[in-house]
């Protein structure tokens, strides 16, 4: 791949995005971003009765970093349980992509937010309080900062 602003991994996912498209009968859909800001990410999750991600698809309006982050996110999501999903931070996505330019880090944050939004939608659909998502996230964050100390 030609030398560009992005790592080879980013370029690879950008040019050949995995799991692009929509899921008709999704268990949860998350949409984040604002078209006026130049980025929208839509994530479709299919979660089975065991709480495991069976299928995942995305649609993204945005730059290469946004598209690559979406694609990488879907790969990381597949086969994970709901709890495991929530452990997935934007840092993990950036790492898996072998880095993003500083101006483009927010594109990976968007991917994390899209996952959260999709999960909340899933919780709502199965009749659980979507706030759980925030609580779990909070716990994970605390654990991380404790580890750093």
């Amino acid at each position: 791949m030609a030398k560009g602003p992005y790592s080879e991994k980013v370029m690879e996912h950008f040019m050949n995005p995995r799991n692009m498209g929509e899921i008709e009968d999704a268990s949860g859909v998350g949409e984040v971003g604002n078209p006026a800001c130049g980025d929208v990410m839509k994530l479709f999750l299919k979660i089975n009765d065991d709480g495991v991600v069976e299928d995942v698809k995305f649609k993204t309006f945005g730059c290469g970093a946004a598209i690559a982050s979406s694609s990488m996110a879907t790969e990381l999501l597949k086969g994970k349980t709901v709890e495991e999903i929530l452990e997935l931070t934007n840092n993990a996505i950036v790492e898996a992509l072998e880095g993003l330019p500083p101006a483009k880090i927010h594109c990976s944050v968007m991917a994390e937010e899209a996952i959260e939004a999709a999960l909340k939608d899933y919780y709502e659909r199965v009749g659980k309080d979507p706030k759980i998502v925030d609580e779990i996230k909070e716990k994970i964050k605390n654990k991380e900062t404790n580890q750093e100390v």
Partner: protein
């Protein structure tokens, strides 16, 4: 080989320009300020080059100042006059679609105690003459409005404005960096007091600019670079002889073939635009199509993001906004100024055509765009159905 449709960002050096520069990078190296024969010969050749540039612009030889870039010329004109005339008044006028070299200079002068009016443009990307008239005050000393915009190519009514300036005893500068070589540019016809252009947009190298300064103004301009008496005492520093010889040749070529160039470049641009608009749905042109220089086509591809398209269509060299802003993720200030749709704005790309493009390249570029716009739209959540 990439298809270079980014001639407004910078142009290749014309072979004829390259050829005349060569001896000055080799055996003709003497300092034009040296009084020995080798120095004097270079001085003569340098002054002849100055005359060639003057002749293209309809100026006198002594009104041509060589600088290190278009940006430096803009800065020198604006700061030089503002500082030189600050006792006469402290009000300055410009537009909100100027190049950064102009806008940032005015922003700096605001901090220095000057008062700046930034004129709005209409949705076509053109300054309104009535607005302009109203903005002139008793204490206005300088107006700087670009001749042609670098992102959408729109031509400003500089001639009319310069006349109004002269009636009101106000000085007028124009940034003609994008205009020169694409339309007739004559300082007498335009009636401006100062005019900027840059070598690397007219097939000369990067790192040389020109500032035309009306003879009557030369005593008032405060230099940016003090020192030796180079450039009539307005810009110190040993002259960049090779590039001066080069930019003069570039001017001579423009004098010779402006009509031929504009016809060809305009034909290619129009062919490109026609095919894109017809064959790729949901696309449109930004800025007035009828009041543009022949070289620029700024096109919005709805539902996708410009940089993403650039990477997908990587065989094509083009720009999102101006090249200088590529390190920021902000959308272009010019598209904002013409009230472009805030979503569509992100899908705008600038294609700029030049002397060395050909029809085959243009057709290939359209085909590449077609295919990749389609691919990216399939990913876009903004498209209602696939």
């Amino acid at each position: 080989m990439s298809i270079y449709l980014d001639n407004s960002a910078t142009s290749p050096v014309d072979d004829r320009v390259f050829e005349v520069m060569l001896p000055y990078l080799k055996e003709k190296y003497a300092n034009p300020s040296s009084i020995h024969n080798d120095g004097r010969q270079i001085r003569d050749e340098l002054e002849k080059a100055r005359g060639t540039v003057a002749s293209l612009l309809g100026a006198d030889t002594s009104e041509i100042i060589f600088t290190g870039s278009g940006s430096e010329s803009d800065n020198m004109a604006i700061k030089g006059l503002a500082y030189g005339m600050k006792n006469k008044g402290r009000h300055l006028i410009t537009s909100n679609i100027e190049h950064k070299a102009v806008l940032e200079t005015f922003k700096y002068l605001e901090k220095e105690g000057f008062d700046v009016t930034y004129l709005k443009v209409n949705n076509d990307g053109i300054v309104d003459i009535e607005d302009f008239k109203k903005s002139i005050r008793e204490d206005t000393i300088l107006v700087s409005i670009m001749l042609a915009n670098n992102e959408i190519g729109t031509i400003q009514p500089v001639e009319e404005m310069a006349e109004i300036c002269r009636d009101n005893d106000v000085y007028m500068h124009t940034d003609a960096v994008q205009a020169l070589g694409k339309m007739p540019v004559d300082v007498t016809d335009l009636g401006v007091h100062m005019l900027t252009f840059s070598g690397h947009k007219i097939y000369a190298p990067k790192g040389i600019g020109v500032l035309y300064v009306d003879e009557s103004l030369k005593d008032f301009i405060v230099p940016l670079v003090h020192g030796g008496h180079h450039e009539y005492g307005l810009r110190a520093g040993t002259e960049n002889v090779p590039y001066i010889i080069g930019i003069a040749k570039a001017c001579e070529i423009i004098k010779d073939q402006l009509q031929e160039d504009s016809k060809k470049i305009g034909y290619l641009r129009d062919l490109f635009e026609k095919r894109v608009l017809e064959e790729i749905p949901d696309t449109y042109v930004n800025g007035a199509r009828d009041k543009r220089i022949c070289s620029i086509s700024n096109i919005t591809f709805k539902y996708i993001e410009g940089e993403a398209l650039m990477v997908y269509a990587s065989e094509i060299d083009c720009s999102t906004g101006s090249a200088c802003t590529s390190d920021s993720v902000d959308a272009s200030h010019v598209l904002y100024a013409i009230n472009a749709d805030p979503v569509d704005m992100h899908g705008a790309l600038r294609f700029s055509f030049g002397r060395f493009n050909n029809e085959e390249e243009v057709n290939r570029a359209v085909d590449i765009l077609k295919e990749n716009v389609k691919k990216l739209r399939q990913m876009s959540p903004l498209m209602s159905n696939e």
